[in-house]
Symmetry: C2
Subunit: 312 residues, 2 copies
Amino acid sequence: MQDSTITSIGIDFGGTSVKLGVCRGGELLCTDEPITTANFAGPQALVGEMAARVAKLRKQHAAITAIGVGVPGLVDFENGYVHELTNVPGWKHVPLKAILGEKTGLPVIVENDANAMCYAEFRYGAARGLRNVVALTMGTGIGGGLVLDGRMYRGSCFAAGEIGQMSIDYDGVAGHYGNLGALEKYTGNHQIAEHAVRRYAEAGVGKDIEDCTPKKIAEAAAAGDNIARQIWDEVAEWLGTALASIGWLLNPDAFVIGGGVAQAGDLIFSPLKRKVQSMLSTVVWEKLQILPAKFSNEAGIIGNAALAADEA
Amino acid sequence: MQDSTITSIGIDFGGTSVKLGVCRGGELLCTDEPITTANFAGPQALVGEMAARVAKLRKQHAAITAIGVGVPGLVDFENGYVHELTNVPGWKHVPLKAILGEKTGLPVIVENDANAMCYAEFRYGAARGLRNVVALTMGTGIGGGLVLDGRMYRGSCFAAGEIGQMSIDYDGVAGHYGNLGALEKYTGNHQIAEHAVRRYAEAGVGKDIEDCTPKKIAEAAAAGDNIARQIWDEVAEWLGTALASIGWLLNPDAFVIGGGVAQAGDLIFSPLKRKVQSMLSTVVWEKLQILPAKFSNEAGIIGNAALAADEA
């Protein structure tokens, strides 16, 4: 049940650090210093530190009644069990909900980080007030989350929302799972950079891959570089194809896009909107918004706290 | 709320005829003679005939408490309003729920036909007992329906489930809406036949398109024709790419496939399963079933009756 009056803790568990904050109604009341994961040998020690931080935050905010933790990997949401975090050594088969719940005495939910980001945007961000929301986080890979009919949709084993693995070409580049045409093999940060190096080379311009990050391509495009603009148009073709397919399948109210690529602003959003419109019926397109995410670094804390408040 | 004890009428409104039946708990208790749409000049007359048939069926089954109508086109489910049926002259902007409700005094729901088929399979068919179900009806076009978290998912303007419009190639064949790579432009009945004619021609075999219907290609493949087998493998590549994308996005329990192509049986299901497995993670694949539909001609009546029982 959606409840904006509950005070809860959101924990954003990343590859290198764990960020914590206290939230109520989508507002970040306070944060604590991030925990550096490398300083703790294994899950027990790290969860112990999380619990200590929670105890400290509860002294400042007595009203805290739930904890939401988002992790960069597949979880069993129902049991609050972490299958594996490939970027965090030792995190395999960890009953996080049980351990943290026992140590703190508070109800805990454990969620995938892209789902938490989606929920933050749905409840308090760019898609606030909408009912069917598809969120994408664009970085090295492309994660996603779905809120459908006003609730987080998780799928049959809590693995839904893997937009980066969807195919945009049945005969295309193989993704991590051998999945031909995987979107993130076209529009992941590294793939965009590689593509840019090729496009510049074709135009007789030598560029290193470090000079072709999405940020730098965006700067070049903004400064009037036609090759850079063309690169964004191509990214929009690929990304727009996947969004249009999702549009046909789910007929959502909004796509919310966060991460590095989204920071290119109109350079990506303008051609992306044109592409998606060109691929949809008027009925589906007219109902659809394509929005930049409201939250960035704080999305995880706010989304996990909101999920804890609404679902724990 | 799911209720298998309610007796309701399912009406399956097709391009040429309207079929009616009385159902309870997924059982078809009786049917009435189909109504030929061409015999009635416009919606008022046709709905009048539907109401007369309903009155007749109620004399035989006094327990009837609701009516579900499925139509071949886009509806406003909430208001029971038919936007347009391109295959039925005069059916544009028809408040079907209001008219039929007024004429019969019963609660009416109006649904898209592919959604009704999906609901039939979810409640009483191949996907009974499962929670997240994606259904496809394969014919001239490819329709689809979604049951997510145990309920019909309709999308923001009741247009969800258009699997045939999803793209399998960002640079592919244009669909009806200009959508490049639209699945049904590869695996619609006519496209399969055209593809088969080409494949046979490449092998020096002249075939007319009438000899290349999915049914005839299936017969040829079953009889050991290698070209026919290859054609089914290719159809599986295209269809499997779309299903894998949906698998990544929705992590469903099952795909249920009905219509002509599904009748090719293992000829299509075997390569299709191999293809989808090759494109998914183990976690998602192990949870997933790819099933032939249980219902065929009666899917519409049963699905609409079930929706009326559960939602009207």
